[in-house]
């Protein structure tokens, strides 16, 4: 058991957002409970509350699932019905865990959790190996382009800690995930119940030489080399103090969605196509020479040009094409269906425009990745391809190039319901295209 001291706790500097995925009985709650418990993130009064609740339900041992099931209905039914976010820290890093339910009918919740995750932990039961649900989880991680995937082969204690069992499952999963374009798979044999390879290395599986789950979470890289990324700043808000002290200040505020911006750089504003040069960058009140994703900044430009919320500032010469026709994969997240001909709102970065669903060419079955043509509509938890015509041109990147400027929401204009989560461009990265994009120089064209 790790003993994080107060001083160690304070030394953690970086933040990792990750998500868990697992079927109903493969031990996800136990794994989450153990990560929280062994990193000393469960405090005495919380544990006391769980013990009290467990006793009043007639259970002998504290049920760690009660730590994570926060809603009355969840506790009553003993299931998780919604994404919950948990926080814990070790000496090396802070963690935000999107704890997502594993039921097939909650695909939308897994998509929600994966959308902000830099890593996904997929659990399998060592006795069952790779099952339909595992393939579904891998497909969602690939679809959402989660950079790191961990396969946790759980319940190794129930298969006599056999290396061959682990190797077979790891190999089958890795082959499947690689085919989907998952860039990196780390397979770890664990027993969440007994604590093998979760926080502490296993005493029984000396054949395994890799990291424990926590070690891997602590060391997986969270910052990437941004020098090759296409820089993007969606304008959120125009800051104009109009005070005696700042009579002429006009700044374009936003969170850098991708890449880096520098003072002196020539930029283009989309969709108007006007150009100017960055005369200054304010990082929350402090002038800086360079800023990068995901910093929230304010850009000042040399020329007084018309820019408002919803515009996109990009380096001149590295602008995405603008178009009114969007082809994308969507995950349908609402109870009401999405149909051909439906009028919707499309929210992309800071811009919301009217749109019409022109076509739903196919629906995807996640189990075997087969495409069903012309489903006519998408219902809750369906994943499909759509063609959408927008009322105004949008500067959309491919989701494969930028999770932030390649993603969008479809919204019901009548009641504001979020209907679907959209990802522009190809659904799955093939191994070939992954290699290609890694080798592509930054200034090499921009088609999709």
């Amino acid at each position: 058991m790790s003993s994080t001291t107060a001083a160690e706790h304070l030394s953690a500097t970086t933040l990792l957002r990750f998500a868990t995925a697992g079927s109903v009985d493969d031990g996800k709650s136990t794994l989450v409970g153990r990560l929280l418990h062994d990193s000393k993130s469960v405090l005495a009064d919380q544990l006391e509350a769980v013990e009290h609740a467990s006793r009043s339900r007639g259970q002998e041992a504290p049920d760690l699932a009660l730590l994570t099931d926060g809603l009355r209905a969840e506790r009553e039914q003993g299931i998780t019905i919604d994404v919950a976010y948990r926080y814990f820290a070790t000496a090396r890093r802070r963690f935000i865990l999107a704890d997502t339910p594993g039921h097939v009918q909650y695909t939308r919740n897994m998509v929600t959790g994966a959308s902000t995750a830099e890593l996904t932990v997929i659990l399998v039961d060592a006795r069952n190996g790779v099952v339909e649900q595992t393939r579904r989880h891998a497909a969602i991680a690939a679809l959402l382009r989660v950079p790191h995937v961990v396969l946790a082969v759980n319940k190794m204690d129930l298969v006599a800690y056999e290396e061959s069992v682990f190797a077979r499952i790891a190999e089958e999963f890795t082959a499947y995930a690689t085919e989907l374009g998952v860039p990196e798979v780390t397979a770890i044999p664990i027993s969440a119940l007994a604590g093998d390879n979760v926080v502490e290395p296993s005493a029984t599986m000396d054949w395994y030489g890799g990291p424990t789950v926590l070690e891997h979470l602590e060391t997986v890289p969270v910052s990437h080399d941004l020098t090759g990324c296409h820089a993007r700043l969606p304008v959120q808000y125009v800051i104009r103090p109009q005070t005696a002290e700042h009579p002429d200040y006009r700044g374009y505020a936003g969170q850098i969605a991708a890449g880096t911006f520098r003072v002196g750089q020539e930029v283009t504003v989309l969709p108007s196509g006007r150009t100017s040069r960055i005369s200054g960058i304010d990082l929350l009140g402090t002038p800086v020479d360079v800023a990068w994703t995901p910093q929230s900044v304010t850009l000042l430009l040399e020329d007084d040009i018309d820019i408002s919320r919803g515009d996109l500032i990009v380096p001149s010469g590295d602008a995405p094409a603008t178009s009114q026709d969007v082809e994308a994969t969507v995950c349908h997240v609402a109870d009401q269906p999405l149909t051909v001909g439906q009028r919707v709102l499309l929210k992309h970065t800071t811009r919301t425009v009217k749109a019409i669903v022109k076509d739903i060419p196919s629906r995807l079955t996640l189990d075997d990745l087969s495409q069903h043509p012309d489903p006519g509509q998408l219902v809750a938890n369906d994943i499909g391809t759509v063609k959408v015509r927008t009322a105004e041109p949008l500067a959309l990147d491919a989701y494969a190039d930028s999770r932030r400027t390649g993603s969008f929401l479809l919204i019901d204009p009548a009641d504001g319901t979020t209907l679907a989560a959209g990802m522009a461009g190809e659904s799955f990265a093939t191994e070939k295209s992954a290699e290609k994009s890694a080798a592509t120089p930054a200034d090499d064209g921009w088609d999709f």
Partner: protein
């Protein structure tokens, strides 16, 4: 195909690494600016407590050098710590802000609300809060709630849609994808916005220290006349304590949260500086709410039930 088990080097020295506080700050600022860009009449709930103080600090940075484009709203239980009210008024004046006060005492005086037998006024805040939102037609209401505070809050969205009665329905929440917050709402409905959703208590304190943010004195160790009730130290005062059989004593204490005097407990502490407070919290084996809030202990789903009714 063999299993890939990659040994990965930590990239702490990457020129593009962002510290966890910078990442949380940037995310919160993005949320403030989204609301400023999309809503007509936003308001920040401001109690003079540390979370709302951090929210205001983030809002000041988000729109600098322009003023904060939001008004403030305080739901005053009438049992506030005088140091906090003094801090509140000083802060409002210093930044030239506009403050609305919704007063629980007024509602009690008018006979609209009745004092509870246990003297706790926290649950009574819901009605003045929701009526103030309706009266001023606020369409976005910033709250300092954090998901690490309580298990029902762990399920809360950053943008949380409330109906015309301010009710929260956890089963009908919108999925929140990427950083694409959906703030659409019908007339009469509003959105509660929680920019500190992903912060922990320790993050808040480390950020206060890093930014040099001033706090009300009650957050630091001081001698105070207190008495024990339900395992907590409560401040003696005109609000209704101590009762018969409860003995007042002078102790060295501080507060981890600021709220109604009737249900906000103090902790024994000799932490008189920010560094000492941070060290104390990092070592604490009790959550902030568990240590100091009587009202959350009313039942297993106390917070969920109050949130459903429209509480923060």
């Amino acid at each position: 195909m063999t299993t890939t088990i990659k040994a990965v080097e930590e990239q702490q020295d990457s020129p593009f690494a962002l510290s966890h506080l910078d990442a949380l700050e940037s995310e919160a600022v993005h949320i403030f600016r989204e609301v400023a860009g999309e809503f007509e009449r936003p308001v920040i709930l401001f109690s003079g407590g540390k979370d709302s103080i951090v929210m205001l600090h983030l809002a000041l940075k988000a729109f600098a050098p322009a003023p904060v484009p939001f008004t403030l709203l305080h739901v005053d239980t009438g049992h506030n710590f005088p140091e906090v009210i003094e801090y509140r008024d000083r802060t409002v004046a210093r930044h030239n802000l506009r403050l609305h006060v919704a007063s629980v005492q007024d509602y009690i005086d008018r006979g609209v609300l009745r004092e509870r037998p246990d003297g706790t006024r926290n649950p009574l805040q819901t009605v003045p809060l929701t009526e103030a939102i309706q009266q001023h037609r606020f369409d976005a209401v910033f709250g300092g709630g954090r998901r690490d505070e309580e298990k029902a809050r762990a399920k809360e969205r950053v943008f949380s849609l409330r109906d015309e009665f301010s009710q929260w329905d956890p089963r009908r929440q919108r999925p929140e994808l990427w950083q694409l917050y959906n703030g659409r709402h019908a007339p009469g409905e509003h959105v509660r916005v929680f920019p500190l959703s992903n912060w922990t208590e320790l993050d808040v304190w480390q950020y206060i220290a890093r930014e040099g943010i001033e706090l009300p004195e009650i957050y630091f160790a001081h001698e105070r006349e207190v008495f024990a009730r339900n395992g907590m130290w409560l401040t003696a005062g005109e609000w209704g304590g101590p009762k018969e059989g409860e003995t007042v004593e002078k102790r060295l204490i501080r507060y981890r949260t600021v709220g109604d005097m009737s249900c906000t407990g103090a902790v024994d502490s000799d932490a008189t500086t920010l560094d000492a407070v941070i060290a104390e919290i990092a070592a604490s084996r009790l959550t902030e709410r568990g240590a100091t809030r009587a009202d959350d202990k009313l039942s297993e789903a106390a917070m969920e039930d109050r949130k459903r009714e429209g509480y923060f």
